[in-house]
Point group: C2
Chain length 307, copies 2
């Protein structure tokens, strides 16, 4: 049985990767600052990845053959311009170095669409220019370059999974989809921009499934985690309004888009098409399941994570 | 009136720099995450220095001629091995760049004795080898090199003030001097190592005064903030025991020194001797004042910061 170490396993995407990884037959080891595992089926090691010594100890103890590294600083409204990106860049470099030193064979790291120079066409994992349009994007770009060097030095296989936009259970409540859903199910107004921006939103479970398929595959280098289907923000918000039956609460044009917000962010699916992965949700079914999850969460019911 | 921006002004050293800077005739501007100033005599700007955008806004608004940059991650027991050092390295680089871009003329940055390769002789600011014996030391070394480059690029004057060991009011309670004082005045045992290690402890007010004198001076490059007087840890603890009248509570040899703890860390005073600075406390008077401060702090009295 192959062992995979998952970092950020308690995070928005991480917690959705555990079931598909277990289904693929992995022994799953998670790590994080919490002393409690996020799931009873995994082996959890409490460690602070921002501590250099704790990384070394963690890898010596667990010696994983594979690594799915998702942990990062992602606080909404702050992460794009924070120097905590530099802390996670340094921690990730050390994690990957220790992984290589201790015989690691296969690593998948979380990249981001923010590495690309945004433009008026689909973003291609091999062809599109990169520029790090934010400090977050700069640090992820820097990590990718260093990770490729480490994978050469230590001869492990590396895929760099660029994650685009997503929504679903356990999302931060102040992000777009969670915020509109929560406003409408609580009968509050949802002020929006005109919503002409086009984004390739996926349900978080589909993103997590995609990452698990990439880990299983022989894919190396950058790989977009996307099906290439874009939606306008207006279309997403209108679908939520229809599904909750509260279209009168949505106020399009209530504010301007953020300065510099690109018109189009949609990835071209490339190497991921060589895996069996395809999204299990379309926009309507994904939003319907997410609305249901939020309704149950507010009733205080425990909500099983969809596999 | 010259303007100086002080970062880390609410910190252990920072709060003791305000009075000497005001006495030198500076207009003092402080910054930090708190919305409240640490002292009513200064102009405070709330900013998170780990946010790239907030640094630019802060410097545009305040346009300080001089800078005393003390803010850093210094949580006891964690800071030596933390990747938050990388966050502060990146933030400090950006702060210094914006300072230079907006006409800054003179900067003093906090260095550390942890930049040196520890050895059996006094540490000389010009001659002693450097090696960054910890991740903290590595990042401070890296910042010094980048700061010197920025001072050349933007033609501002830069001094790199290496701070050694210190004690005094407002110290973290789990650090050596504060911990022994608090144990003894609360009639608790104070377990110690044999205490043969030699360190050049200064009272925090003397360190802060030294930094203020360095800012006022024309000193450039590395400068040790020290009077070159070393004390054994045993001598320091015995002085506390004498002053509190509780020598029976001290247990020397209760544990081993930490692995890798150097025998000798004492700086040679160099360029600082060209300023009028000299310490106002010797070990006994400094510890006596600190014990008095802790006693009053525990009585809930407001304690004026000694000038």
């Amino acid at each position: 049985m192959k062992t995979v170490l998952v970092t950020g396993a308690a995070g928005f995407i991480g917690r959705h990767t555990l079931t598909p990884l277990l289904d693929f037959g992995y022994k799953v080891i998670t790590t994080g600052r919490s002393t409690l595992p996020v799931d009873s089926r995994v082996e959890h090691h409490c460690a602070d990845l921002l501590d250099k010594n704790q990384i070394a100890t963690l890898i010596e103890r667990t010696r994983p053959e594979e690594l799915l590294h998702l942990a990062w600083y992602l606080e909404p409204g702050k992460y794009l311009h924070s120097f905590l990106n530099d802390a996670w860049l340094a921690a990730s470099r050390e994690l990957l170095k220790q992984f290589g030193l201790h015989g690691g064979k296969r690593a998948v790291l979380a990249g981001t669409c923010f590495e690309y120079q945004f433009q008026d066409s689909l973003l291609d994992e091999l062809e599109s220019p990169l520029d790090g349009n934010s400090h977050y994007g700069e640090c992820k770009n820097a990590l990718r370059i260093e990770a490729e060097k480490l994978s050469n030095d230590f001869q492990f296989s590396l895929a760099w999974a660029r994650i685009f936009y997503l929504y679903g259970p356990h999302e931060y409540e102040n992000r777009l989809v969670a915020s509109v859903i929560n406003s409408l199910i609580k009968s509050k107004e949802a002020p929006c921009s005109e919503g002409t921006q086009i984004r390739d939103y996926l349900h978080v479970q589909d993103v997590a499934d995609g990452l698990s398929h990439i880990l299983q595959s022989n894919i190396t280098g950058p790989v977009n985690v996307t099906d290439g289907v874009g939606h306008t923000i207006r279309q997403i918000v209108e679908t939520i309004a229809d599904l909750t039956g509260r279209p009168e609460l949505v106020k399009f044009g209530a504010f301007q888009p953020r300065p510099g917000d690109p018109d189009l962010v949609v990835g071209a699916p490339g190497k991921i098409l060589t895996t069996p992965w395809k999204p299990s949700f379309d926009l309507t079914s994904g939003l319907r399941a997410t609305i249901e999850w939020w309704k149950q969460a507010h009733q205080g019911n425990s909500v099983p994570i969809k596999n």
